[in-house]
């Protein structure tokens, strides 16, 4: 199973020129550097998400594509053309804001027609395209309504129609779902993805919500403190986080510090700070400090056949029907989280249980929080980026 992680590149497999390319860009606000040495190439037609906590620079990067913020160093190209000096109104990009940003004094038709009007599209053509766009966002016939007469979800759909109607080179979505309530958010998630696929437009999506990122993206760029932590497909960043930050930010992984106690070349035994030992498939020198990262979903609780075993005391149990979430104290002040499917009786608080996980289900981090490459057999999942989006790829 070598190299199965090549991300499929929709439609434009033969196209080599990226839709958007950043080369070593830095963006500073006064003395505060919001983005540092950021490089990324985004394939045409792909859906790329910039994911990270607030203040990580993801929105700044998005705004730099639009020309809403100036970059301090490096260069940005859209469709192979450098845009550093191109003013915002000539960049041909579609923008969807968290606050919808519909013009409150214009009706739906005039809002959607706005970009077309400034591209000198003839009137009958505008009417046709607006109708088509409204059809696409499933709000036909709403032309004469004012934004204030629409619900939040409808407003965001109009904002989407307005951003794609003039067929921009890239669609930029700045946390477009954050202002919506939970049900609406999920519906819009599917809708945005559907429209993006149907139009084949290159989309760059900014969010701090890992679920949105995992469910919508072809590629996820995980950002932290102005830098790129990892880029990869949703499975790659989830299954093989490149750093402790990524592991923790996506899915709240358990981080178990320990020291390598012995290694036989294929398997390594790690003595956890919690006082128990685990064994992993890697070759590491004894004495090295490592962190074992295990997702709560990879842990099973109760009677288990194989793999690594840990013993602990249940601190809390959340019964969720099909599965249960346990907080388990494994000693040394370490509490780990397990999210398991319920097969037998649910473990009660205070009960001592056996925990197990597959040696292949964990990731090892070195003392700097960087992932340690594992043995060749497991490498396929561990590559950080695919060819189509690797930074500074020639």
């Amino acid at each position: 199973m070598a190299d199965t992680n090549q991300t499929p590149r929709p439609e434009t497999a033969g196209e080599t020129r990226p839709a958007v390319e950043f080369r070593d860009i830095s963006i500073a606000y006064g003395s505060f550097v919001a983005v540092r040495d950021f490089s990324l190439a985004i394939a045409k037609g792909s859906f790329v998400t910039l994911l990270g906590p607030s203040g990580c620079g993801k929105t700044t990067i998005l705004r730099s594509i639009a020309g809403l913020v100036d970059i301090s160093a490096g260069q940005i190209s859209i469709g192979g053309k450098r845009v550093d000096d191109v003013p915002i109104y000539k960049r041909n990009i579609g923008l969807v804001f968290q606050s919808y940003a519909l013009f409150p004094h214009k009706n739906v038709f005039d809002n959607v027609a706005f970009g077309l009007k400034y591209r000198n599209v003839p009137k009958p053509e505008i009417a046709r395209k607006v109708a088509q766009a409204l059809e696409m966002v499933r709000l036909p016939g709403s032309e004469r309504k004012l934004p204030s007469q629409l619900s939040g979800g409808q407003q965001q759909r109009i904002a989407l129609a307005r951003a794609i109607v003039f067929e921009p080179e890239v669609l930029l979505l700045d946390e477009p779902l954050s202002a919506l309530d939970a049900n609406m958010r999920e519906e819009m998630r599917v809708e945005i993805k559907k429209i993006q696929k149907a139009t084949g437009i290159t989309a760059i999506f900014v969010t701090h919500d890992q679920e949105e990122a995992l469910s919508m993206s072809d590629q996820i760029v995980v950002m932290n403190a102005g830098r790129m932590e990892q880029i990869g497909s949703p499975e790659q960043v989830y299954e093989a986080p490149a750093t402790g930050f990524v592991a923790d930010f996506l899915g709240k992984a358990n981080m178990l510090p320990g020291i390598v106690s012995s290694s036989d070349g294929a398997r390594t035994t790690i003595a956890l700070a919690a006082g128990q030992t685990v064994s992993v498939a890697a070759a590491l020198p004894p004495g090295r400090a490592v962190t074992v990262v295990v997702r709560p979903q990879k842990l099973s609780v109760g009677a288990v056949p194989s793999g690594n075993r840990l013993t602990g005391r249940v601190v809390s149990t959340s019964y969720l029907g099909g599965n249960a979430i346990y907080e388990i104290d494994i000693g040394g002040g370490t509490t780990i989280r397990a999210n398991t499917q319920i097969s037998g009786p649910v473990a009660a608080e205070g009960q001592t249980v056996e925990l197990a996980f597959d040696a292949a289900a964990c990731v090892l981090l070195d003392e700097h929080g960087q992932r340690i490459p594992v043995l060749p057999g497991r490498q396929s999942n561990a590559k950080t980026s695919s060819a189509s989006t690797s930074p500074r790829q020639q």
Binding site: L68, P87, Y89, S99, A101, F103, P104
Partner: protein, 286 residues
């Protein structure tokens, strides 16, 4: 727990103040318009329509009324044009201490309005700064007649009203979501086009509120024309002052007061109908 009696008790002081110091005097004035004028300072409570008849038939009053509306409208319009730019500047500037600029707008209010109006005499008068400078430079041979003209009156009114206009426009600009402008620009607008499409239309309520406020205050003024205008530049307010204080003709003075009150109230009512009074309250810092 809503207790209607307590609610009435809480608004009672304000209501009483309004009734005794606003509604009642106006009502007394309204009654006075039907009294009979006998001679200066003397009137009889015999009811008559003579005052109203005189107002409605005498072109002298109509002339003053039209002139007052014209001066008020002109002042408001100039205020709108001159006030929009500073308001826009204060809104758009990236200057860190914006509050300082807003404070500058309030500073004139710290000095008595009458004194501020008097100061124009030293600027526009025959021995004023402008005339003296021009004479010394030899650009003119005789002093220019600037004071005691309608121009001087409008100048004084502008000086007095511009901060109200700027504040009103500024407040409505401040309420515009700036991402709307980014959105317009991303769709192909230059800054000027984005201003025309988004900023200007969305700031119109503030401009309209400012226009109304300036118009009402200008049309109701009498100190400024008194100090800076000649007899010919008197406004309706001066006419009322003169009728009551000069001729001691209270019934006619009351009639003219009610006329101005109704006309200005009419403009305010139209505005409220279409714009909502809240805009003015916002502009006044409420």
């Amino acid at each position: 727990m809503y207790n209607p009696r307590l609610a009435w008790m809480l608004v009672a002081p304000a209501l009483l103040l309004l009734v005794f110091f606003l509604l009642l005097p106006i009502a007394v004035m309204a009654v006075y318009t039907f009294f009979t004028f006998i001679t200066a300072g003397v009137e009889a409570s015999t009811l008559t329509l003579a005052n109203w008849h005189e107002f409605l038939t005498d072109g002298y009053y109509h002339g003053f009324l039209l002139k007052t509306i014209r001066v008020g409208a002109l002042t408001a319009a100039i205020c709108g044009v001159l006030g929009y730019f500073p308001a826009y500047f204060i809104w758009a500037t990236t200057f860190k201490h914006k509050w300082l600029l807003l404070l500058l707008l309030i500073v004139p209010f710290w000095i008595s309005f009458t004194i501020r109006t008097f100061s124009w005499i030293h600027i526009l008068g025959e021995q004023g700064v402008i005339n003296v400078t021009l004479l010394k430079l030899g650009l003119i041979n005789a002093p220019l007649q600037m004071l005691y003209t309608e121009g001087a009156v409008i100048m004084g009114l502008l000086h007095f009203l511009l901060p109200y206009m700027i504040l009103n426009v500024y407040v409505s600009l401040e309420s515009i979501d700036r991402t709307l402008i980014s959105a317009a620009r991303s769709m192909g607008c230059t800054s000027a086009q984005a201003f025309r499409e988004v900023t200007l239309p969305l700031s119109l309520p503030g401009l309209a509120a400012g226009l109304l406020l300036c118009f009402v205050l200008a049309a109701g003024s009498y100190v400024t024309p008194q100090l800076l205008g000649s007899g010919r530049d008197a406004l309706f307010g001066n006419l009322i002052y003169d009728t009551i204080m000069g001729q001691l003709n209270w019934p006619m003075g009351a009639t003219l007061s009610i006329v101005l009150f109704v006309i200005l109230g009419f403009f305010a009512a139209i505005y409220t109908r279409y714009m909502g009074m809240s805009q003015i309250v916002k502009g006044l810092g409420g």
